[in-house]
Point group: C2
Chain length 333, copies 2
Amino acid sequence: MATRLSDVAARAGVSVKTVSNVINDYPHITARTRAKVEAAIAELDYTPNVSARSLRKGRSDFIALAVPEMASPYFAELGAAISRAAKKRGITVLIDQTEGEAAAEKLVLDGMRGQLIDGIIFSPITTAPARITSADTAKPLVLLGERHPGGTFDHVAVDSVQASFDATMHLVSIGRRRIAAIGVGGGAGTGSVRRKGYRKALKAAGLALDPALEVGGPGYHREDGAASMRELLALPEPPDAVFCFNDLMAIGALRALTDAGLSAPKDVAVIGFDDIEDGRYHSPSLTTISADKEWLAENAVALLLDRIAGTGEADRRDLTVPYTLTIRESTGG
Amino acid sequence: MATRLSDVAARAGVSVKTVSNVINDYPHITARTRAKVEAAIAELDYTPNVSARSLRKGRSDFIALAVPEMASPYFAELGAAISRAAKKRGITVLIDQTEGEAAAEKLVLDGMRGQLIDGIIFSPITTAPARITSADTAKPLVLLGERHPGGTFDHVAVDSVQASFDATMHLVSIGRRRIAAIGVGGGAGTGSVRRKGYRKALKAAGLALDPALEVGGPGYHREDGAASMRELLALPEPPDAVFCFNDLMAIGALRALTDAGLSAPKDVAVIGFDDIEDGRYHSPSLTTISADKEWLAENAVALLLDRIAGTGEADRRDLTVPYTLTIRESTGG
DNA sequence: CTGAAAGCGCTTACAG
DNA sequence: CTGAAAGCGCTTACAG
């Protein structure tokens, strides 16, 4: 515990500079010296003090991931993927739950954690991405989620309009004509972007828009999906298909359907968005838009580290996450 | 960013000591001085450098939570609760995914993270809790999960034997006579402890033990539960009820049942353990053992902080998490 | 290649 | 109450 660099140096019979060189993998060290130092490190069970290193270097090799809630399956899976991607590069991820609170998101932007972290991967809910400018933060930042024109930050996101178009067209392709959307009032622009793709598809299919079929939001949880589905079923003319803007709401919608004595896809076909693990196990299993979370994690981390190292391109970068439409039982796959 | 304590002091016209006193809420500061300092802090948008503070004080107000995988719903929900509990006390939680790897768990015990963290809440999978001794770690540590006699650390856990007894007796109480257990080979002792409660209940109910009905492990995921259920259904004499040692396996088991054209609770009643959010939304909804995660989180954090502050009791403490049996559709509730 | 020394930004005895 | 100074454990010019 109290082992210091100088202890290692004394033990190995070299200067602290040499030990530091070995630890940081600098050149110009003979194999013999290196071996001697490494032996001393092992004998003393030495680990560098990251506070001291970070204070001196101005770099900690910590990055933060700020998400609305880590218990939400999508964010939990994403967090796990980002942690793994960072670990491969020697970086530790600190997960910050904003709980969608504006104050907590503001803290993130202010470069929270007292300058400990080197940069932030941020999935905003309350703060509109378009309103985030570089003036708000002192640290490199990569935004996740819907892309907004005019933003000033690097961005990694699915093409939500296109994906929503595809999801809706899938419902059209299986013969549905009265297609609802759940989650249109969702936070941080998700609802409006996905609705755009939904409406585009209806138009392309020659179907009329019906405001009564656009429901839900701002909540994006299971109970919100269930409530929205109940609302739709109470309509004089209920839908024969529903596009839920995330899987969590779709799972709630499936449950509401069951509770009403109906089933998917027979009475109402249901499609979600995110491809969370649990969707595969529900009965019926959930058709969904499956964005590549590993790809997203790898690229978000790489982009942020480029910025931190100062090796990123000068321009803002926008990366588009690949996705596929995964057809399962809830739409009759 | 480059604002330092001394800048604030200069701005406020006081010494750095006084600014430090204000920030750390020390006594003997006039309201006037405090106001002056706080104004300077606000004007300069100053945030203390945690690396410097941590280096000097030997305390960072960071704790680590080491879990097998943060994407697993139980650990995600637990992590969220622990983060919240810690935040209330001004503590930041760093989540570490060990992925059940012995090497990663070893790192945790070695007091990973270069002395940044003040203590660890550890949910081991690979390392047998009984084998963890204080000699292995330099930091205060609180263990989660099954309690083992002879351990040397503070512990917070459900009484798994009793809870498993209750779960099994519930199946008996609804008239089931051929009751299987899934997950008996589970890691870190969970499987054997829960099997103990299961067997005790069968005995109390006057039912014979059948080794063919004790399956599963070491995997505790949805697919493992599904595979175990298929195995049980292939038996010459399949069970009429199954106690799954966690909800994730129970969800897989439900799915396997559906795939076989059977249903719960009619053909096979199913009960889980953990009460993860998703279990409420499956069809049928899942009967389960519901441990109080908020209670667990609050107490684990409080216990750890007591140790860190040196105010904990001298003896090792064992806290038992309250739980309830939550009856839902999968056992005919 | 190595050594001696400064300094990152705090906190904390120590004097006043 | 305040000020001047040391020191936490590193890294990094600077001389050799």
